[in-house]
Amino acid sequence: MKSLKVILNGLVTENPTFVLLLGMCPTLGTTSSAINGMSMGLATTFVLICSNVVISLIKNLVPDKVRIPAYVVVIAAFVSVLQMCMEAYVPAIYETLGLFIPLIVVNCIVLGRAEAFAAKNNAWYSALDGVGIGLGFTFALTLLGAIRELLGTGKVFSMTVFSENYGALVFVLAPGAFIALGYLIAIVNKIRKA
């Protein structure tokens, strides 16, 4: 029962993007299309799960005063592993996302969950927390990416919905990211309060 609660916590109650407002930089930067948002979310999910498990396993071995550098080393190692594996086995996805992968190291969601959850819970719950938060992040990024892609270019997942000529280019650019995210957060808050 608690397992399900941990997953739902990340997906809904403490959704990293819509509720905690964490990791805004990759959120705004990578969501110019739905597929980019989704890939970034999934890559972050992988790193979150791995780092959460390892950190919860080593939490008692790490002295408090050096825990942040220790966690950062663990997270950075997983990100580099992910980057090399992607470049080797899925070069097509690596090509579109390559630039953003190293940024996962400094994504505050990953370090935030390590500090707030993994350092206090066992490996199983930490893994589930990684799944929940990761999927919540993926969902938010995919949704934001789809909205920006639709309003900006008239496509969703590269499938044309209406002609590109009617798209508002601003939604693909940075200002559109802020506008779309602002309205999404407002809508999510309205639904949560109702």
Binding site: L61, P63, E87, A88
Partner: protein, 229 residues
């Protein structure tokens, strides 16, 4: 919970140095192992991509000869003994980093096709270069054009190619790379070179000026040498 606290290692100097060193060593070991495992697949993937790009930008050839001209790699294509064209790997700096492209020319110097090998442009804007310059719409298409006869710069700069909407810098950089590729091709086949209008960064232009100056300086020294002899 209280048990947990007691189990935690004390934050003294020895523990901190020891733990951080061990964690870093393990991480380095893991990275080294993954690097060794993925090194070969990465190299294969890159080589495959290069081969696929050559296949895409050239048609009808049965062997290639690689040559380096002006620092660019030129794959000269032959059908039997007849020269049928060349695929040139060219690079410039774009809006978000290095742009590396492969451009195919037929034996008259017309552009057959191009492929993007590497780029880090803004997703949704500059990244459109992948197919923007081969789409038949207004003056976007550069396929079939000859950089010697057609001025391949963006219309804003007096050229005849439409820039990508909201990505003029990326477009300039891309076209500069195409012109650089043509110059490497032309240097090889004896056709006159074209002026390269640089995109985001000026150092490409200055580079070519520098090499041009070096070329002209070369002539007098040669003649002096001749006189001395």
């Amino acid at each position: 919970m209280k048990g947990d606290k007691n189990m935690k290692l004390e934050s003294n100097f020895k523990n901190m140095v020891l733990v951080l060193t061990i964690i870093s060593l393990i991480a380095a070991g893991v990275l080294g192992a993954v690097y060794t495992v993925t090194e070969e697949p990465i190299a294969i993937a890159k080589a495959e991509k290069q081969q696929a790009a050559i296949q895409q930008v050239l048609n009808g050839f049965d062997r290639l000869e690689d040559e380096t001209v002006n620092g660019l790699l030129v794959h000269k294509a032959y059908q039997g003994d007849a020269f049928v064209g060349a695929a040139v790997e060219s690079e410039t700096n774009g809006f978000g980093g290095k742009i590396k492209i492969m451009v195919g020319f037929d034996k008259e110097g017309n552009i057959i096709d191009y492929a993007i090998l590497q780029q880090a442009e803004t997703p949704g804007l500059g990244t459109k270069m992948v197919d923007w310059f081969k789409t038949d719409k207004n003056n976007q298409n550069i396929k079939g054009k000859n950089p010697e006869k057609n001025k391949l710069t963006v219309t804003k700069d007096g050229g005849e190619v439409d820039a990508i909407t909201a990505a003029t810098i990326s477009s300039r950089a891309f076209l500069a790379a195409v012109n650089l590729a043509y110059n490497a091709y032309a240097a090889n086949s004896g056709a006159p070179a074209v002026n390269v209008v640089s995109g985001a960064t000026q150092h490409i232009a200055t580079d070519s000026v520098a090499s041009a100056v070096a070329d002209t300086v070369q002539v007098p020294t040669d003649s002096i040498n001749a006189l001395n002899e």
